[in-house]
Symmetry: C2
Subunit: 125 residues, 2 copies
């Protein structure tokens, strides 16, 4: 079966991608992909996504150097969400954290930062 | 700040939720929530979502008994995706697996089942 036939796309032609550290299982980020991005990821071993803001194929790390070597892709029961299991160079988050999920949401509506910065965004972007 | 003001919703009024085992960090499922579902989750400690197929608030496990005790919620840099860190009773997947991500996607387009069933869906649903 072609890869594209495995993927159940939303009304914008995309599916969700959860990005997970292949060793620690930490969730690093969440992004979207189209079939071309998934095929590119599988053929190159480097994480590709669809950038919804820039409306183009996006090689993660193309400007920051913080690339992701993809070791394994898992697909969910519905075929509408993937996990990329990756080795992350630097940090996944444009705000300088290893993971985009660096804040805990409290019942009060407050947030608490639970990670430390691993780079200064001013040096990278 | 009210919880709803923290959340960046899509054009359907929803945001994505990654569900992760709080101990092993295994990703169990991906679902969607509206602000009411997030507030209910924080106030009850049980995972609530928005069911896009049934178009209603959904308490995970309401029919299967496979509830999720939510220990922590993380929010990403953009505010448009959450992680629920949970203790999962039984399995998260309606197909009988602990995780919905029980298949590896191969470069050939094939899939390989990488988990064992933990319950028989016929007994539960």
């Amino acid at each position: 079966m072609a890869i594209a036939d495995r993927l159940k796309l939303d009304d914008k032609g995309l599916l969700g991608v959860i990005v997970q550290d292949c060793a620690t299982r930490e969730v690093l980020m969440f992004a979207h992909a189209n079939p071309e991005a998934v095929e590119k990821t599988l053929s190159t071993g480097k994480a590709h996504y669809w950038s919804r803001s820039r409306k183009k194929l996006w090689l993660k790390g193309e400007s920051s150097g913080h690339t992701q070597a993809v070791k394994e892709i898992l697909i969910d029961c519905d075929g509408d969400c993937l996990i990329y299991r990756v080795e992350q160079k630097g940090g996944a988050c444009h705000e300088g954290y290893r993971s985009c999920f660096f804040r805990r949401l409290e019942p009060s509506g407050g947030v608490e930062v639970v990670l430390k910065r691993v780079f200064d965004p001013k040096d990278v972007y």
